[in-house]
Amino acid sequence: MVGDVFVAPLVVAYPYKRTVGTLLSRFFTSLSECRLEGTRGSDGRVFFPPAEFDPVTGAPLTEWVSLSDTGTVSTWAWQETPVEGQPLGHPFAWALITIDGTDVPMLHAVDAGSPDNIAIGTKVKVRWAQDRPGGVTDIACFDVVGGAS
Protein backbone atom coordinates (compact mmCIF):
# COMPACT_ATOMS: atom_id res chain seq x y z
CA MET A 1 0.00 0.00 0.00
CA VAL A 2 1.51 3.33 -1.02
CA GLY A 3 2.32 5.57 1.97
CA ASP A 4 2.64 2.80 4.54
CA VAL A 5 6.12 2.48 5.98
CA PHE A 6 7.01 -0.68 7.84
CA VAL A 7 8.66 0.20 11.13
CA ALA A 8 10.39 -2.37 13.34
CA PRO A 9 12.15 -1.69 16.63
CA LEU A 10 15.87 -2.40 16.81
CA VAL A 11 17.42 -2.97 20.22
CA VAL A 12 21.19 -3.43 20.25
CA ALA A 13 21.81 -6.14 22.82
CA TYR A 14 23.47 -9.47 23.50
CA PRO A 15 20.30 -11.56 23.89
CA TYR A 16 22.02 -14.65 25.22
CA LYS A 17 23.57 -15.98 28.42
CA ARG A 18 26.79 -17.86 28.68
CA THR A 19 28.25 -20.21 31.26
CA VAL A 20 31.69 -19.46 32.65
CA GLY A 21 32.48 -23.17 33.08
CA THR A 22 33.06 -25.37 36.11
CA LEU A 23 36.12 -23.65 37.57
CA LEU A 24 34.99 -20.05 37.27
CA SER A 25 31.48 -21.00 38.45
CA ARG A 26 32.84 -22.42 41.68
CA PHE A 27 35.28 -19.52 42.05
CA PHE A 28 32.66 -16.81 41.52
CA THR A 29 30.21 -18.59 43.86
CA SER A 30 32.84 -18.73 46.61
CA LEU A 31 33.57 -15.01 46.18
CA SER A 32 29.88 -14.13 46.42
CA GLU A 33 29.89 -16.07 49.74
CA CYS A 34 32.99 -14.14 50.96
CA ARG A 35 35.35 -17.10 50.70
CA LEU A 36 38.68 -17.36 48.87
CA GLU A 37 39.52 -20.65 47.17
CA GLY A 38 42.51 -21.49 45.00
CA THR A 39 43.74 -24.53 43.11
CA ARG A 40 46.94 -26.52 43.61
CA GLY A 41 49.22 -27.33 40.66
CA SER A 42 51.25 -30.49 40.05
CA ASP A 43 54.38 -28.78 41.40
CA GLY A 44 52.58 -27.90 44.67
CA ARG A 45 52.10 -24.21 43.84
CA VAL A 46 48.72 -22.76 44.85
CA PHE A 47 47.02 -20.33 42.45
CA PHE A 48 44.61 -17.57 43.39
CA PRO A 49 42.64 -16.74 41.33
CA PRO A 50 42.47 -20.48 40.69
CA ALA A 51 44.17 -21.85 37.57
CA GLU A 52 41.96 -24.14 35.51
CA PHE A 53 44.86 -26.01 33.93
CA ASP A 54 48.30 -26.88 35.25
CA PRO A 55 50.84 -24.36 33.88
CA VAL A 56 53.45 -27.15 33.86
CA THR A 57 51.59 -30.23 32.58
CA GLY A 58 48.43 -28.75 31.05
CA ALA A 59 46.27 -31.18 33.03
CA PRO A 60 42.97 -29.93 34.53
CA LEU A 61 43.44 -28.88 38.16
CA THR A 62 40.88 -30.29 40.59
CA GLU A 63 42.42 -29.89 44.07
CA TRP A 64 40.88 -26.87 45.78
CA VAL A 65 42.50 -25.06 48.70
CA SER A 66 40.67 -22.80 51.19
CA LEU A 67 42.53 -19.57 51.83
CA SER A 68 42.48 -16.72 54.31
CA ASP A 69 41.50 -13.21 53.19
CA THR A 70 44.92 -11.68 53.81
CA GLY A 71 47.95 -11.28 51.59
CA THR A 72 51.19 -9.43 50.86
CA VAL A 73 51.95 -6.73 48.27
CA SER A 74 54.67 -7.81 45.80
CA THR A 75 54.62 -4.64 43.66
CA TRP A 76 52.45 -1.51 43.51
CA ALA A 77 51.76 1.70 41.58
CA TRP A 78 49.83 4.81 42.55
CA GLN A 79 46.72 5.76 40.54
CA GLU A 80 46.51 9.47 41.39
CA THR A 81 43.59 10.11 39.03
CA PRO A 82 41.18 7.15 38.94
CA VAL A 83 39.28 6.37 35.74
CA GLU A 84 35.55 5.65 35.85
CA GLY A 85 34.85 1.98 36.54
CA GLN A 86 38.05 1.34 38.46
CA PRO A 87 37.68 -0.20 41.95
CA LEU A 88 37.94 3.13 43.81
CA GLY A 89 36.88 6.68 42.94
CA HIS A 90 39.67 8.36 44.92
CA PRO A 91 43.47 7.95 44.59
CA PHE A 92 44.51 4.35 45.31
CA ALA A 93 47.25 1.79 44.72
CA TRP A 94 47.24 -0.94 42.13
CA ALA A 95 49.07 -3.95 43.51
CA LEU A 96 50.05 -7.49 42.78
CA ILE A 97 48.99 -9.29 45.96
CA THR A 98 50.05 -12.78 47.02
CA ILE A 99 47.22 -14.21 49.12
CA ASP A 100 48.59 -16.06 52.17
CA GLY A 101 49.08 -19.72 51.32
CA THR A 102 49.41 -19.07 47.58
CA ASP A 103 52.44 -18.75 45.31
CA VAL A 104 51.30 -16.52 42.43
CA PRO A 105 50.10 -12.94 43.00
CA MET A 106 46.87 -11.40 41.66
CA LEU A 107 46.05 -7.87 40.52
CA HIS A 108 43.75 -5.72 42.65
CA ALA A 109 43.41 -2.28 44.24
CA VAL A 110 44.55 -1.24 47.73
CA ASP A 111 42.78 1.66 49.48
CA ALA A 112 46.01 2.89 51.07
CA GLY A 113 45.10 6.59 51.35
CA SER A 114 48.57 7.74 50.37
CA PRO A 115 51.59 6.26 48.57
CA ASP A 116 53.43 6.63 51.89
CA ASN A 117 51.27 3.86 53.40
CA ILE A 118 52.18 1.09 50.97
CA ALA A 119 55.38 -0.73 50.06
CA ILE A 120 56.49 -4.11 48.78
CA GLY A 121 55.82 -6.43 51.72
CA THR A 122 52.81 -4.49 53.08
CA LYS A 123 50.16 -6.83 54.54
CA VAL A 124 46.65 -6.32 53.18
CA LYS A 125 43.17 -7.75 53.81
CA VAL A 126 40.14 -8.19 51.54
CA ARG A 127 37.32 -5.61 51.77
CA TRP A 128 34.18 -7.33 50.45
CA ALA A 129 31.77 -5.46 48.21
CA GLN A 130 28.22 -4.95 49.55
CA ASP A 131 26.79 -6.26 46.30
CA ARG A 132 28.40 -9.55 45.20
CA PRO A 133 26.97 -10.91 41.94
CA GLY A 134 29.93 -13.28 41.54
CA GLY A 135 33.12 -11.94 40.00
CA VAL A 136 36.50 -10.47 40.77
CA THR A 137 34.80 -7.18 41.75
CA ASP A 138 33.06 -9.01 44.65
CA ILE A 139 36.34 -8.02 46.24
CA ALA A 140 35.81 -4.23 46.46
CA CYS A 141 39.50 -3.67 47.18
CA PHE A 142 42.10 -4.49 49.82
CA ASP A 143 42.80 -2.54 53.03
CA VAL A 144 46.22 -2.15 54.61
CA VAL A 145 46.35 -4.37 57.71
CA GLY A 146 46.66 -2.10 60.74
CA GLY A 147 44.94 0.66 58.81
CA ALA A 148 46.09 3.39 56.45
CA SER A 149 46.62 6.78 57.99
Binding site: P49, A77, Q79, E80, V83, I120, V136
Partner: protein
Protein backbone atom coordinates in the same frame (compact mmCIF):
# COMPACT_ATOMS: atom_id res chain seq x y z
CA UNK B 1 63.59 -26.95 4.12
CA UNK B 2 65.89 -24.26 2.81
CA UNK B 3 64.57 -20.82 3.60
CA UNK B 4 64.26 -18.24 0.82
CA UNK B 5 66.24 -15.02 1.14
CA UNK B 6 63.72 -12.25 1.84
CA UNK B 7 64.44 -8.56 2.31
CA UNK B 8 62.75 -5.26 3.01
CA UNK B 9 63.20 -3.19 -0.16
CA UNK B 10 61.23 -0.04 0.64
CA UNK B 11 59.40 1.78 3.41
CA UNK B 12 57.10 4.78 3.81
CA UNK B 13 55.71 6.44 6.93
CA UNK B 14 53.23 9.24 7.56
CA UNK B 15 54.40 11.95 9.99
CA UNK B 16 52.71 11.51 13.38
CA UNK B 17 49.80 13.72 14.36
CA UNK B 18 47.16 13.86 17.08
CA UNK B 19 43.37 14.18 16.83
CA UNK B 20 43.50 13.43 13.10
CA UNK B 21 40.18 13.86 11.33
CA UNK B 22 41.16 11.63 8.40
CA UNK B 23 39.74 8.14 7.83
CA UNK B 24 42.08 5.16 7.71
CA UNK B 25 41.73 5.07 3.91
CA UNK B 26 42.60 8.76 3.60
CA UNK B 27 45.82 8.38 5.58
CA UNK B 28 46.85 5.03 4.04
CA UNK B 29 46.30 5.86 0.38
CA UNK B 30 49.08 8.46 -0.03
CA UNK B 31 51.55 6.40 2.03
CA UNK B 32 51.00 3.29 -0.08
CA UNK B 33 51.23 5.30 -3.30
CA UNK B 34 54.43 6.96 -2.08
CA UNK B 35 55.90 3.52 -1.33
CA UNK B 36 54.97 2.07 -4.74
CA UNK B 37 56.56 5.12 -6.41
CA UNK B 38 59.73 4.76 -4.33
CA UNK B 39 60.17 1.06 -5.10
CA UNK B 40 59.05 1.67 -8.73
CA UNK B 41 56.44 -1.08 -8.85
CA UNK B 42 52.75 -1.26 -9.75
CA UNK B 43 49.91 -2.61 -7.63
CA UNK B 44 49.79 -5.60 -10.01
CA UNK B 45 53.36 -6.52 -9.00
CA UNK B 46 52.27 -7.18 -5.39
CA UNK B 47 51.54 -10.89 -4.83
CA UNK B 48 50.29 -10.52 -1.26
CA UNK B 49 48.97 -7.67 0.88
CA UNK B 50 48.93 -7.86 4.66
CA UNK B 51 47.45 -5.29 7.06
CA UNK B 52 47.78 -4.71 10.81
CA UNK B 53 45.22 -2.64 12.76
CA UNK B 54 42.81 -2.87 15.69
CA UNK B 55 39.01 -2.69 15.41
CA UNK B 56 38.68 -1.76 19.08
CA UNK B 57 40.15 1.66 18.31
CA UNK B 58 37.38 2.52 15.87
CA UNK B 59 34.82 0.69 18.02
CA UNK B 60 33.46 -1.14 15.03
CA UNK B 61 33.81 -4.83 14.10
CA UNK B 62 35.42 -5.51 10.72
CA UNK B 63 36.29 -1.82 10.32
CA UNK B 64 39.63 -3.01 8.91
CA UNK B 65 37.84 -4.18 5.77
CA UNK B 66 37.33 -0.58 4.68
CA UNK B 67 41.13 -0.17 4.49
CA UNK B 68 41.06 -2.40 1.41
CA UNK B 69 39.84 0.72 -0.41
CA UNK B 70 43.36 2.09 0.06
CA UNK B 71 44.94 -0.79 -1.86
CA UNK B 72 42.26 -1.51 -4.47
CA UNK B 73 40.56 -4.89 -4.66
CA UNK B 74 40.01 -5.07 -8.41
CA UNK B 75 41.38 -6.99 -10.27
CA UNK B 76 41.21 -9.51 -7.38
CA UNK B 77 44.12 -9.50 -4.92
CA UNK B 78 45.34 -11.85 -2.21
CA UNK B 79 45.21 -10.06 1.12
CA UNK B 80 45.09 -10.73 4.83
CA UNK B 81 44.65 -8.81 8.07
CA UNK B 82 45.99 -9.28 11.59
CA UNK B 83 44.27 -7.71 14.59
CA UNK B 84 47.70 -6.72 15.79
CA UNK B 85 50.65 -4.48 15.05
CA UNK B 86 51.78 -4.37 11.42
CA UNK B 87 55.01 -6.07 12.51
CA UNK B 88 52.98 -9.27 12.91
CA UNK B 89 51.52 -8.69 9.44
CA UNK B 90 55.12 -8.50 8.21
CA UNK B 91 55.79 -11.85 9.85
CA UNK B 92 52.76 -13.34 8.06
CA UNK B 93 53.95 -11.88 4.74
CA UNK B 94 57.43 -13.33 5.33
CA UNK B 95 55.84 -16.77 5.84
CA UNK B 96 53.71 -16.28 2.71
CA UNK B 97 56.80 -15.54 0.62
CA UNK B 98 58.55 -18.54 2.19
CA UNK B 99 55.80 -20.80 0.80
CA UNK B 100 57.01 -19.87 -2.69
CA UNK B 101 53.54 -18.73 -3.79
CA UNK B 102 54.56 -15.08 -4.13
CA UNK B 103 57.78 -13.07 -4.47
CA UNK B 104 56.62 -9.58 -3.44
CA UNK B 105 54.41 -8.53 -0.53
CA UNK B 106 53.25 -5.17 0.74
CA UNK B 107 52.67 -4.82 4.48
CA UNK B 108 50.88 -1.82 5.99
CA UNK B 109 49.50 -0.73 9.32
CA UNK B 110 47.57 2.17 10.77
CA UNK B 111 46.34 3.40 14.13
CA UNK B 112 44.13 6.38 14.99
CA UNK B 113 45.30 6.10 18.55
CA UNK B 114 44.14 9.51 19.79
CA UNK B 115 40.46 9.10 18.93
CA UNK B 116 39.76 7.27 22.22
CA UNK B 117 41.26 6.46 25.65
CA UNK B 118 43.94 4.11 24.29
CA UNK B 119 45.26 3.25 27.77
CA UNK B 120 41.85 1.76 28.67
CA UNK B 121 41.14 0.32 25.21
CA UNK B 122 44.35 -1.71 25.22
CA UNK B 123 43.61 -3.19 28.64
CA UNK B 124 40.58 -4.95 27.10
CA UNK B 125 43.26 -7.43 25.96
CA UNK B 126 43.69 -8.65 29.54
CA UNK B 127 41.97 -11.67 31.14
CA UNK B 128 38.23 -10.94 30.76
CA UNK B 129 37.27 -12.39 34.18
CA UNK B 130 40.20 -11.77 36.51
CA UNK B 131 41.74 -8.51 35.26
CA UNK B 132 39.66 -6.55 32.72
CA UNK B 133 36.69 -5.92 35.14
CA UNK B 134 39.08 -3.91 37.34
CA UNK B 135 39.86 -1.61 34.38
CA UNK B 136 43.58 -1.18 34.94
CA UNK B 137 45.15 0.89 32.17
CA UNK B 138 48.28 -0.27 30.36
CA UNK B 139 50.20 2.56 32.05
CA UNK B 140 49.22 1.22 35.50
CA UNK B 141 50.29 -2.32 34.59
CA UNK B 142 53.61 -1.00 33.25
CA UNK B 143 54.01 1.00 36.47
CA UNK B 144 53.71 -2.23 38.52
CA UNK B 145 56.49 -3.73 36.39
CA UNK B 146 58.63 -0.59 36.74
CA UNK B 147 58.29 -0.63 40.55
CA UNK B 148 59.40 -4.27 40.71
CA UNK B 149 62.42 -3.46 38.51
CA UNK B 150 63.34 -0.41 40.59
CA UNK B 151 63.08 -2.30 43.88
CA UNK B 152 65.15 -5.19 42.50
CA UNK B 153 67.82 -2.77 41.29
CA UNK B 154 67.40 -3.88 37.65
CA UNK B 155 66.82 -0.25 36.62
CA UNK B 156 67.08 3.16 38.29
CA UNK B 157 64.86 6.21 37.88
CA UNK B 158 67.89 8.05 36.48
CA UNK B 159 68.45 5.37 33.81
CA UNK B 160 64.77 5.65 32.89
CA UNK B 161 65.05 9.44 32.59
CA UNK B 162 68.19 9.04 30.46
CA UNK B 163 66.27 6.79 28.05
CA UNK B 164 63.58 9.47 27.75
CA UNK B 165 66.07 12.34 27.35
CA UNK B 166 67.99 10.49 24.61
CA UNK B 167 64.78 9.51 22.78
CA UNK B 168 63.43 13.09 22.81
CA UNK B 169 66.76 14.46 21.56
CA UNK B 170 66.98 11.88 18.74
CA UNK B 171 63.35 12.59 17.78
CA UNK B 172 64.38 16.10 16.69
CA UNK B 173 65.99 14.56 13.57
CA UNK B 174 62.98 12.42 12.67
CA UNK B 175 60.05 13.92 10.74
CA UNK B 176 57.80 11.02 11.84
CA UNK B 177 58.44 11.54 15.56
CA UNK B 178 56.07 13.65 17.67
CA UNK B 179 57.48 14.38 21.14
CA UNK B 180 60.77 16.22 20.84
CA UNK B 181 62.90 17.92 23.46
CA UNK B 182 66.32 18.80 24.71
CA UNK B 183 65.83 18.23 28.44
CA UNK B 184 68.55 16.63 30.55
CA UNK B 185 67.81 13.58 32.69
CA UNK B 186 67.93 15.93 35.71
CA UNK B 187 65.23 18.14 34.15
CA UNK B 188 63.01 15.12 33.61
CA UNK B 189 63.62 13.70 37.10
CA UNK B 190 62.38 17.00 38.54
CA UNK B 191 58.95 16.38 36.99
CA UNK B 192 56.16 14.95 39.23
CA UNK B 193 54.99 11.36 39.10
CA UNK B 194 51.91 10.77 36.97
CA UNK B 195 51.47 7.11 37.95
CA UNK B 196 54.11 6.61 40.63
CA UNK B 197 56.80 5.33 39.90
CA UNK B 198 56.21 6.55 36.30
CA UNK B 199 56.45 10.15 35.15
CA UNK B 200 54.87 11.49 31.96
CA UNK B 201 58.12 11.09 30.01
CA UNK B 202 58.33 7.40 30.97
CA UNK B 203 55.19 6.65 28.91
CA UNK B 204 54.99 6.70 25.11
CA UNK B 205 53.14 9.49 23.32
CA UNK B 206 49.97 8.14 21.65
CA UNK B 207 49.77 9.45 18.07
CA UNK B 208 47.86 8.76 14.87
CA UNK B 209 50.01 7.28 12.15
CA UNK B 210 50.49 4.73 9.43
CA UNK B 211 53.29 3.10 7.50
CA UNK B 212 53.99 0.54 4.79
CA UNK B 213 56.82 -1.78 3.78
CA UNK B 214 57.59 -3.86 0.67
CA UNK B 215 59.17 -7.30 1.13
CA UNK B 216 60.68 -9.21 -1.77
CA UNK B 217 62.54 -12.46 -2.33
CA UNK B 218 65.96 -13.16 -3.83
CA UNK B 219 66.82 -11.56 -7.16
CA UNK B 220 63.55 -9.62 -7.21
CA UNK B 221 64.71 -7.85 -4.03
CA UNK B 222 68.13 -7.14 -5.60
CA UNK B 223 66.39 -5.58 -8.60
CA UNK B 224 64.06 -3.40 -6.50
CA UNK B 225 66.60 -2.03 -4.01
CA UNK B 226 70.21 -0.96 -4.23
CA UNK B 227 70.91 -2.38 -0.79
CA UNK B 228 68.08 -4.60 0.48
CA UNK B 229 67.73 -5.25 4.24
CA UNK B 230 67.93 -9.05 4.30
CA UNK B 231 65.96 -10.78 7.04
CA UNK B 232 68.42 -13.23 8.63
CA UNK B 233 66.27 -14.28 11.58
CA UNK B 234 62.75 -13.59 12.86
CA UNK B 235 61.02 -15.06 15.91
CA UNK B 236 57.93 -14.39 18.04
CA UNK B 237 57.50 -15.57 21.66
CA UNK B 238 54.79 -15.00 24.28
CA UNK B 239 54.81 -14.95 28.08
CA UNK B 240 51.86 -16.26 30.10
CA UNK B 241 48.72 -14.09 30.16
CA UNK B 242 48.60 -14.55 33.96
CA UNK B 243 50.21 -11.29 35.05
CA UNK B 244 51.32 -12.52 38.47
CA UNK B 245 53.01 -15.63 37.07
CA UNK B 246 55.47 -13.60 34.99
CA UNK B 247 58.82 -12.32 36.10
CA UNK B 248 58.45 -8.56 36.55
CA UNK B 249 62.20 -7.96 36.29
CA UNK B 250 63.12 -9.76 33.07
CA UNK B 251 61.51 -10.59 29.72
CA UNK B 252 61.94 -14.28 29.04
CA UNK B 253 59.96 -14.19 25.78
CA UNK B 254 62.16 -11.37 24.41
CA UNK B 255 65.28 -13.32 25.42
CA UNK B 256 64.12 -16.49 23.63
CA UNK B 257 63.00 -14.59 20.53
CA UNK B 258 66.36 -12.77 20.34
CA UNK B 259 68.24 -16.03 20.73
CA UNK B 260 66.16 -17.77 18.02
CA UNK B 261 66.56 -14.79 15.69
CA UNK B 262 70.35 -15.05 16.04
CA UNK B 263 70.93 -11.63 17.64
CA UNK B 264 74.13 -12.73 19.43
CA UNK B 265 75.79 -14.22 16.31
CA UNK B 266 77.46 -10.89 15.50
CA UNK B 267 77.45 -7.26 16.59
CA UNK B 268 74.23 -5.24 16.16
CA UNK B 269 74.84 -1.70 14.82
CA UNK B 270 71.33 -0.35 15.31
CA UNK B 271 68.45 -1.74 17.39
CA UNK B 272 64.98 -0.29 16.96
CA UNK B 273 63.14 -1.47 20.09
CA UNK B 274 59.38 -1.09 20.51
CA UNK B 275 59.46 -0.02 24.17
CA UNK B 276 56.39 2.07 25.11
CA UNK B 277 57.85 2.66 28.61
CA UNK B 278 61.39 3.72 29.51
CA UNK B 279 62.06 0.82 31.88
CA UNK B 280 60.94 -1.61 29.16
CA UNK B 281 63.76 -0.45 26.85
CA UNK B 282 66.21 -1.32 29.64
CA UNK B 283 64.55 -4.72 30.19
CA UNK B 284 64.67 -5.47 26.46
CA UNK B 285 68.35 -4.49 26.19
CA UNK B 286 69.12 -6.90 29.04
CA UNK B 287 66.98 -9.70 27.59
CA UNK B 288 68.56 -9.44 24.13
CA UNK B 289 72.10 -8.97 25.42
CA UNK B 290 72.62 -5.71 23.50
CA UNK B 291 75.98 -4.07 24.24
CA UNK B 292 76.93 -0.42 24.65
CA UNK B 293 78.18 -0.36 21.03
CA UNK B 294 74.61 -0.83 19.68
CA UNK B 295 72.88 2.43 18.77
CA UNK B 296 69.43 2.11 20.39
CA UNK B 297 66.45 3.78 18.68
CA UNK B 298 68.15 6.49 16.58
CA UNK B 299 64.63 7.33 15.38
CA UNK B 300 63.57 8.28 18.92
CA UNK B 301 61.63 5.03 19.17
CA UNK B 302 58.03 4.35 20.14
CA UNK B 303 58.44 6.52 23.24
CA UNK B 304 58.21 9.71 21.13
CA UNK B 305 55.54 8.46 18.69
CA UNK B 306 53.42 5.42 19.47
CA UNK B 307 50.73 4.87 16.85
CA UNK B 308 49.00 1.77 18.27
CA UNK B 309 49.29 -1.18 15.85
CA UNK B 310 51.80 0.70 13.67
CA UNK B 311 54.66 1.49 16.11
CA UNK B 312 56.18 -1.99 15.74
CA UNK B 313 56.19 -1.92 11.94
CA UNK B 314 57.70 1.57 12.20
CA UNK B 315 60.68 -0.02 13.99
CA UNK B 316 61.17 -2.34 10.99
CA UNK B 317 60.98 0.65 8.63
CA UNK B 318 63.51 2.67 10.63
CA UNK B 319 65.94 -0.27 11.00
CA UNK B 320 65.72 -1.13 7.28
CA UNK B 321 66.30 2.51 6.28
CA UNK B 322 69.62 2.49 8.16
CA UNK B 323 70.68 -0.49 6.00
CA UNK B 324 69.50 1.30 2.81
CA UNK B 325 71.50 4.40 3.81
CA UNK B 326 74.61 2.33 4.49
CA UNK B 327 74.86 3.72 8.03
CA UNK B 328 74.47 0.19 9.49
CA UNK B 329 75.27 -3.33 8.32
CA UNK B 330 73.43 -5.46 10.87
CA UNK B 331 70.29 -4.21 12.60
CA UNK B 332 67.56 -5.42 14.95
CA UNK B 333 63.85 -4.58 14.74
CA UNK B 334 61.48 -5.45 17.59
CA UNK B 335 57.77 -5.28 18.28
CA UNK B 336 55.93 -5.88 21.55
CA UNK B 337 52.24 -6.48 22.20
CA UNK B 338 50.10 -6.99 25.29
CA UNK B 339 50.61 -5.64 28.81
CA UNK B 340 54.08 -5.58 30.35
CA UNK B 341 55.95 -6.91 27.26
CA UNK B 342 53.75 -10.01 27.03
CA UNK B 343 54.62 -10.70 23.37
CA UNK B 344 57.90 -10.03 21.64
CA UNK B 345 58.82 -10.29 17.95
CA UNK B 346 62.51 -9.94 17.11
CA UNK B 347 64.03 -9.65 13.64
CA UNK B 348 67.68 -9.38 12.54
CA UNK B 349 68.43 -7.79 9.15
CA UNK B 350 71.71 -7.39 7.29
CA UNK B 351 73.00 -5.49 4.28
CA UNK B 352 75.12 -7.25 1.67
Amino acid sequence: MALRDIAIVGTAQRPSEVNSTFTSVEILLPVIQQLLDKVKIERSDIGFWCHGSCDYMSGQPFSFVSAVDAIGAWPPIIESHVEADGAFALYEAWVKIQTGEVDVALVFSNGKTTSGPIDQILSLQTDPYMVAPLKPGFDALAALQARACLEAGVVTERQMAEVAARSRRDARNNAVAYTKGNESADDLLAMPYTLNPLRAHDCATPVDGCNAIVLAAGDVARRLAERPAWIRGIDHRIDTQRLGARSMIESSSAAIAAQKAGVARDRIDVAELHAPYTHQELLLRNAMGLSESTHINPSGGALVANPAMAAGLARFAEAAESIFAGSADRVLAHCTSGPMLQQNLVCVMEGE
